[in-house]
Symmetry: C2
Subunit: 327 residues, 2 copies
């Protein structure tokens, strides 16, 4: 029975009690933790660990690994409405990463640092690892009390997503050669969306005081929406026809409907999923314009206990794959 | 030539430039980074990554792994004079860690949390890793401007260490069956010193405003002293006969002199190495009494360029092994 433990069990059975008395740990329910360290600001802290073979392909260049792992962390800061500040890098290298790989890795990190106005603050390096492993702890700030949490969704809220959904999962499917007969413009778009997720930093900051709840979609729209609803003790209804798709994803839906259904909620989107009171709908439209971000209302929050219903033409439907379940 | 890169090269060639504009990164020279976030305090941040097969034996129980990896991080906080606050845990599990292992791991973390009055603040868990990997980022606080740095040593300073030196390395040698005919009292002591390093938190805090420079000895007395001297652009002279030994280590020196010399500076001590002006020598004695910590003057800081001379009976000597060089 040693192998029946999974991430949820590990969190519930062993880790949550260790975080019980840490106020800013938010019961380990959220995208990031808070640290209350000054009169007017809170530090937002998030950690993500990635390993070759699990989170990225062993053949990835250093630059692709760097931008993806840092973007994943920045996306967690975006989900909390934080302004990025700096990061700690724990880099576990294998024999396979040499000077060329490190060049590519460092150049890409430097570009990300410039784009997001952040710096490397510290870390650790080990070599001779069994598999390339990277753990990043990223830091951001929010004015005290304004962090966007998963716990604030209220029945009646509108439910929104940024950008388009499914591209990351479809990009991975393309890389795994599950999509073959696709136009190159589409495949390059999907591949790019997989390698280079867009942390929605500006949007997260603009949503402070507007969104009641927020998280980033990393494991898949459906499974992540359930997490948000469970944390807020509400339910949600998502209209399948409203889920925003890129042209490339729409092409896959037309031409490979089964694969599309497998991938639409398979994760790697790194878009924001958030809820806001209906009276703030105009404000959300303004924020979309102001941050130059596509924002789509895909459903609403209901009273309930964490369930998420997917409806299409007034009928309840379900997807063949509802998200990336950690092992 | 892909495999000629080592930790020093990685730091100098790729990582330092990424940290150049991050003020609190301290040029990646120190045990931890600083984050300037309130008017009167700084946050001290340290990251350590450990992997099975490199930093601990694959057969280690969860509790031993937990206390060792957290202690290593807390030792870095101690080296900066910081009061521990909380930590982020990135836990990469393999198929080998089941419920019993996790029980032991979590119980040990809970004990450490109580001992040091800290809490788990967040993190990440992945499974199906190629090797058990743990990255901890630990946080502490210091009043602004009081962090103990590696860069402050001045010619004329006395050079001190806490506790006794070499026990951790000898404990590992015992576990590796390089020491066989040893009294059980000694072997248990050495083993315990290897598994359960003592983060010198109280001492680090007491040394604020007293020590000119400080670091913790993780890679070995000689090699770490060279790092401190290089960071401060000074030299040091250490008197071999003054290096404080436990009874167990003294027994090994008597009975296995070659092995002793191999291990005395092989790392895993997690004692503090610090320098202080001679006029504060009485204060250091008081601090030793007040924190109930053995503190020994082992030498002094000279003008110089990073070199460390080991002398015995007025003669320059050298050790067969001067420290743990990362790959």
């Amino acid at each position: 029975m040693e192998n029946t433990i999974n991430e949820v069990v590990i969190l519930d059975k062993w880790l949550k009690s260790l975080a019980m008395q840490t106020h800013g740990a938010l019961s380990l329910l959220d995208d990031a933790a808070l640290l209350n360290i000054s009169a007017d600001e809170e530090l937002v802290i998030t950690t993500d660990m990635s390993q070759e073979g699990i989170h990225f392909l062993p053949t990835m260049r250093g630059g692709l690994v760097a931008s993806k792992v840092l973007a994943v962390n920045l996306s967690d800061l975006a989900a909390m409405g934080a302004k990025p500040l700096c990061y700690q890098l724990a880099l576990g290298l294998t024999e396979a990463q040499g000077a060329n790989w490190m060049d590519s890795f460092a150049v890409s990190l430097a570009e990300m640092q410039r784009s997001f106005n952040i710096g490397l603050n510290g870390g650790d390096t080990i070599k001779k690892c069994a598999a390339l492993t990277i753990a990043i702890t990223a830091f951001g700030t929010v004015p005290k009390g304004t962090a966007l949490l998963r716990t604030g969704a209220k029945a009646g809220d509108d439910l929104y997503v940024s950008g388009t959904i499914g591209d990351g999962g479809l990009g991975l499917a393309f890389l795994q050669r599950k999509i073959l007969e696709i136009d190159q413009v589409h495949s390059q778009f999907l591949e790019r969306r997989y390698w280079y997720p867009t942390p929605r930093i500006e949007l997260g900051i603009a949503l402070r005081g507007v969104a009641n709840s927020c998280m980033d979609i990393s494991d898949g729209l459906m499974i992540d929406c359930r997490k948000l609803c469970a944390a807020s003790v509400v339910a949600a209804e998502i209209d399948y026809n409203l889920i925003p798709l890129s042209n490339a994803a729409a092409w896959v839906r037309e031409n490979m409907p089964t694969l599309f259904e497998d991938c639409i909620s398979s994760g790697d989107d790194y878009e924001l999923l958030f809820s806001a009171p209906t009276e703030k709908a105009d404000l959300v439209v303004q924020i979309a314009a102001q941050t130059n971000t596509r924002i789509t209302k895909i459903g609403s929050i209901k009273a309930g206990d964490g369930s998420v219903n997917l409806i299409q033409n007034n009928q309840l439907i379900s997807l063949s794959n509802e998200g990336f379940v950690h092992y």
